[in-house]
Symmetry: C2
Subunit: 117 residues, 2 copies
DNA sequence: TATACATATGAACAAATAAACATATGTTTA
DNA sequence: TAAACATATGTTTATTTGTTCATATGTATA
C-alpha cells in the first residue's frame, strides 16, 4: 500500500466509524439489553424458564422438578419477575408462575436454534 | 380444601411435574443455551455486536468507536468467535469482524423489542 | 388463634469473569 | 531483515453473582 492509498484507507475507516457511531443506540439502552440477556445467561434460570414453556408452575413444582432448593428457586424467580420475563398469580397457598409473553418464548427459541446448529 | 381435594391437587401437580420433566431438553443443551445468552449478557460485548449490525469492522475501529482498549476488544472478540457469533477475514494487517449469521441479528432484535417495551 | 404449609428475604461465602497491563505473534513495507 | 503496525494472549485483580442457611411473611384450616 502506497502512502496515498494508506491515507485514503484511514479516512475511509474514520467515515465508517463515524457512521456506526451515529446509528448506535444510547449506551443506556444497550446496557439494559445486556442486563436482559444476562438474566437468560444462567443455567438455573434457563431451566426454570424452559420448564414453564408449556405450563404454569408453582415454586414447589419447580424445586422438585429441577432438584433445587426452595430458596434458590425463589431467588431466581425474583430476578425473572423484575425483568418481566415471568408473571404470577396466587391460588391459595401456592403462587403460580408462567412466562410473561411471547417475546420470552421467541428469544429462547432463537437461542435454541443457534445452539442446536 | 378437604382432604380428598388436597390429595387430588397433589396428584395433579405430580402429573404436571412429570410431564414437564419429560418435555425438558437435556441439561447439557440448556447449559449451552445459558452459555450462549451469557455471551450476549455483557454490555461491552453487546456494544461490539451492535456496532457490527450493519457493517464489518476491524479491531481498531471497534476500540476507537467504543473507547475501549485494544486488549479488551480482542479478548471479547475471542469470546464472540468461540460462540460463533462473529466471523472474520484478514485483509493485510487488519482483521475484519462481522456478525456470523441472521440468528445473531434476530436474537439481538428480539431482545431490543423486549427492552423497548 | 395456633399450627402447618408455601413462598420470600437477608446475610455470608465461594466461584466466575471483565478489565488492565505486559508481552507475544503475525503481517507489511522500507 | 528490521521496523512499524495490527491483533492476540497470559496473568493478576477487583467485582459480580449464585447458592446456602436462617428467618420472616403470608395463607389456609383445625
Amino acid at each position: 500500500m502506497g502512502e496515498t492509498e494508506e491515507r485514503e484507507f484511514l479516512a475511509a475507516r474514520e467515515d465508517v466509524v463515524k457512521k456506526v457511531l451515529e446509528q448506535q443506540p444510547d449506551d443506556e439502552i444497550l446496557y439494559d439489553l445486556a442486563e436482559l440477556f444476562k438474566v437468560f445467561g444462567d443455567s438455573t434460570r434457563i431451566k426454570i424458564l424452559y420448564s414453564m414453556f408449556e405450563t404454569e408452575l408453582c415454586v414447589n413444582d419447580i424445586a422438585k422438578l429441577l432438584n433445587l432448593s426452595q430458596s434458590s428457586v425463589s431467588h431466581q424467580l425474583r430476578i425473572l419477575k423484575s425483568s418481566k420475563l415471568v408473571k404470577f398469580r396466587r391460588e391459595g397457598k401456592s403462587i403460580f408462575y408462567s412466562l410473561d409473553d411471547e417475546h420470552v418464548r421467541a428469544i429462547i427459541s432463537m437461542g435454541m436454534e443457534h445452539v442446536e446448529e
